[in-house]
Symmetry: C2
Subunit: 242 residues, 2 copies
Amino acid sequence: MVSKNQIKLINSLHQKKYRIEYGLFLAEGVKVVQELLQSNFKLKQLYCLEKEVFDGFEDKTIIVSEAEMKKITALNTPSTCLGIFEIIKPKAIQEKGIVIVLDDIRDPGNFGTIIRLCDWFGVEQIVCSNETVDLYNPKVIQATMGSVTRVNINYCNLKDFINQTKLPVFGTFMDGENIYKSQLPKEAILVFGNEANGISKEIELLIKNKLSIPRFGNIQKTESLNVATATAIFLSEFKRNN
Amino acid sequence: MVSKNQIKLINSLHQKKYRIEYGLFLAEGVKVVQELLQSNFKLKQLYCLEKEVFDGFEDKTIIVSEAEMKKITALNTPSTCLGIFEIIKPKAIQEKGIVIVLDDIRDPGNFGTIIRLCDWFGVEQIVCSNETVDLYNPKVIQATMGSVTRVNINYCNLKDFINQTKLPVFGTFMDGENIYKSQLPKEAILVFGNEANGISKEIELLIKNKLSIPRFGNIQKTESLNVATATAIFLSEFKRNN
């Protein structure tokens, strides 16, 4: 049974300002909650359907009905469990290997998918512009499928970050050099831009190495790739030979 | 101004059974509607905010308010225009080049992204299991960003289709051969499986060439890649050398 106050708290955590105020965030879905329970993230409270209680966490679990779950979920389709976890302060930015830089990614699904890709390809660091969607947005957390526990993610002024880095900086552009024909280093900063506008002009000026994924289809069309799929292809190319 | 009967018709098209009954589907968003208007798809009616009317289509346009748009949209965030188009019967399956086969993809965003990837990489044919999400689902149409006009998509019994093909059949598996070290042909069937369960047992038996994308991160974790990002990497690999 979930109280009115609990519903109010949980629903407030759908919004960034309350997540910051309380230092808490929501995670939904068995896979995601399971990964968080096995990580450094500290559990505050679990809300589960009766069939979905996690062994060893009974004392922090409140059993809820499907109707109650509908009242607290931040997703279109409610899951069988929802956890409240404490927000962790990220470690300092690690400039080694491949570092992904996100210049104003707005879609939670894209951001979550990019975090999941980083985990797969052994990328341990993502640096986001301050305008990028909040990591602790429930839809981002869900799309990471738990990978959020294995990637360090910082928000900062991108211009300052790129200006100080010693790593070579690469970016995705429609008119860049063919990525399949380029020499790609083991260590690099890879910048990806906003879904609608791409990389901002201000950041573009700081990028020495412009790459593009060649289009094999009807070349008259000026269509672009989705940013998460472009990230997949970039990471695959940077990692396949190294 | 949009009438009650029009609202009823449009909302019915959020559901597959009414799309089939009326032979109509919805497309939302300027980019998607624009691409459909320039294609073989036949426009039935356009609903646009006053600022978003398309030149040359005024006689088929009904100007609506933002409040009215909220009543007819199938998306979480209403767009500035919504078109009703006639469903087109697909051409017969073309078995040449790369053919993508989808074994029960359920997420509209994933399916739309895969169609967009096919368009980018010059893949002209997708074959779906009958259980795969409907191509004309408004969220699929939106995620294709118009690419749906350039890819032929058929639904059929996958077992029968794969049994009769002369092309080599490849599939994605956790324990497959490293895709980066494999010889990949110019012409092939590439099979991708359901988001939760992967490729079904029945179809797996018909796949001779099992490939996998190696994991570079923490190898103890049994995480998988999202199916749309796996498709991106597969298409990139099959196309980069051919």
